[in-house]
Symmetry: C2
Subunit: 403 residues, 2 copies
């Protein structure tokens, strides 16, 4: 059994819905059991949000969910009826009908449970279930949406619940690349990538897969095949362990340009201060990324951290309010920054990777403002206008063009 | 408690949604409990059907219902969030959430039961429930739509279930008129009309209210106020009994131009023949209207009946197939006909009304092809190019311009 997920671009027009349906029909005719998950057509969701804001600049999240969920419940019956017209029995299912039960946090609900009764019934009847992605219902049958990466999450969660052999994510790119092909001309498509590598890449700027879906795939061991909906070529398999010959020290490079930094000078160096500063940001839904704290002198320290530049204004306001309580000398901020990251399980226990990265950037005259690392990732914050140059240099340094 | 229903034109744009919301807010601020029912915005439903047909010329009814039901579940949250923005607590509800349980006949489901639990809960919490009209769910939670007049039906059925004081149907006309104001310049808006009169007018061409909603109103004694969403003027109240001074012999005149006739010559004059001809039409969903059968001679008779001209081709095919079994000389058909009807409870037991109608048409040189009557209606089939002249003449003959 295969779960196939088609994103908004893949179903953006009637012609594309016909093409997607032909692909589903071909899979069915090969004898596979297929469950389909679809996103809203093209820019439907954006248009609905714009319409919402034209009647209420701050629409309540519950009502916004009721509204935007229609995007997917429009696509699903269109695909189902297109399949029927091609002689392939199909049935569309809303999130509710597909048994997708979620938490009640509107606009960012979490899938709690999937009761795939109706999906299994459809499969028994020889029908292709076409499920509206991105949405679910609470216990009270309130409509929820899953937030960014929602349809991917629906697809992988369904694959897990149905114990499907794999989950295919059809998208408008060919797979996962060693770097953004728009930045690095000879970036190479990866045949395999590990869940943890994909998670790190997604976290630091690779837009193809949202981390949520990858996490579920890892947790339930669902192989995820990221591939193009425009041709039949294979894409990238996201799996637990890549074949020996596929391993490399550095697997991929990612950049993220929507970055700004905030520096709090002269903070009291005592327990609870960091919490007092970061808690209000968390409550406001602002993700804080790289955090650097200098070694304190005479009971005070400096704290620098990065946030999305689109969150900068709100973040500065909250930080200024917070330091009134805990005390600090001043708050400064700056935009125009970018994150430049290398990711790869191969770098675990391989000394010298970080050194090569810093040396290559230094030789190219790129100044590193902050550094953050995980076990399989090294991230440098650099000036935004230098990040693409940095990506190209690192791609060459680690010879990622070679397979 | 008032149920207010806003049709597609009334909510066709963001600006109109704001206007509708201001009206709802004003009603709430007068201290009324309001339940709102909305249709799909403007031509949304037509556009969805066109999209469906571009992927499958004959979309399965179940999938088409899944698709078009989104029209109303788009409008409902938009109105709810607009009200919230105006400081009026509101909550949108899909047909499912509003407890609208229907039969399983897709595209023409019947409301079987309404469980208004969530609507009552919203009202208790001081919120305006904004219900998606035109839709419901079966016991299996399959999405259904109610067919023509569906949102009106939802509104009146909700008013009945909630024992509301009245149901206001907001539309793009000012109310029910003695005749189509586009045809008769001095047509008069009726302040009151009886359910049975409205049913007859709707059945013979008055488009403002669909008979289904009026029937439910009559059955449960829900006063229906048909009024304009563009201004505050009162419209027409549809009630069980009109005030004494409002009674008139003839209440209104309606025309219907999509009419054709089929004549079956030389049919055997024995039991079962009419059934053999009309049963297949009924099964195909073709309504047969006026039926005239001549007195038989030598065991044979001629049968003439009217159908919608848009059904003519299909109807002729079915009739030709049917007469192969029962025997008949020939089948002929003609389009270009119209129905011209006068309606009014006042004509019950008032001799001479029919005579005045026929005389007035004859004096104007309008030939009557067929006649059909109910207790409160007389319908003449006339040439289509003469029907508007006929409406004007009858309006004058029965002095309908005078209140």
């Amino acid at each position: 059994m295969i779960v196939q997920k088609y994103g908004g671009t893949s179903v953006g027009t009637a012609a594309r819905i016909r093409r997607v349906s032909r692909r589903i029909a071909a899979t069915v005719r090969r004898g596979e059991q297929v469950v389909v998950v679809v996103s809203a057509m093209g820019h439907t969701t954006d248009r609905m949000i714009a319409l919402a804001q034209s009647v209420n600049p701050e629409p309540p999240a519950r009502e916004l969910d009721m509204l935007v969920a229609n995007g997917e419940t429009i696509t699903a019956p269109l695909v189902a009826m297109c399949l029927e017209g091609m002689g392939v029995a199909a049935i569309s299912l809303s999130g509710l009908q597909a048994g997708v039960r979620t938490s009640a946090q509107h606009s960012r609900a979490r899938i709690q449970d999937i009761n795939p009764g109706r999906i299994l019934e459809a499969l028994r009847e020889g029908k292709v279930p076409v499920v509206a992605g991105f949405q679910g219902v609470t216990e009270r049958l309130e409509i929820t949406t899953l937030g960014r990466g929602g349809s991917d999450t629906t697809a992988v969660a369904l694959a897990a619940a149905l114990k499907a052999d794999s989950c295919e994510i059809y998208t408008d790119v060919d797979g996962i690349f060693t770097a953004d092909p728009k930045v690095v001309r000879n970036a190479r498509k990866l045949t395999y990538i590990r869940y943890d590598e994909m998670l790190e890449l997604a976290a630091v700027g690779a837009r193809v897969m949202h981390p949520r879906a990858v996490e579920i795939g890892e947790l339930y061991g669902v192989p995820i095949h990221v591939r193009s909906s425009f041709h039949d070529g294979v894409g990238t398999m996201i799996v637990a362990q890549v074949p020996m010959e596929e391993r490399q020290r550095v697997r991929g490079i990612a950049q993220e340009t929507n970055v700004a930094k905030i520096t709090v000078l002269g903070v009291a160096d005592r327990p609870g201060v960091a919490a007092a500063i970061f808690e209000p940001l968390g409550k406001a839904g602002i993700s804080v990324d790289v955090i650097v704290q200098n070694i304190g002198r005479s009971g005070h320290t400096d704290l620098t951290f990065s946030v999305a530049e689109s969150d900068l204004k709100a973040a500065v306001k909250l930080v200024k309010a917070a330091i009134k309580d805990v005390g600090a000398r001043s708050v400064s901020s700056a935009g125009g920054i970018a994150k430049l990251s290398i990711v790869g399980t191969g770098m675990l226990g391989t000394p010298g990777i970080a050194g090569r990265m810093f040396r290559a950037l230094a030789d190219a005259g790129i100044n590193i403002e902050m550094i953050s690392t995980s076990e399989i990732r090294i991230t440098c914050l650099v000036a935004r206008d230098q990040v693409e140059k940095g990506v190209r240099i690192l791609h060459k340094t680690f010879e990622l063009e070679k397979s």
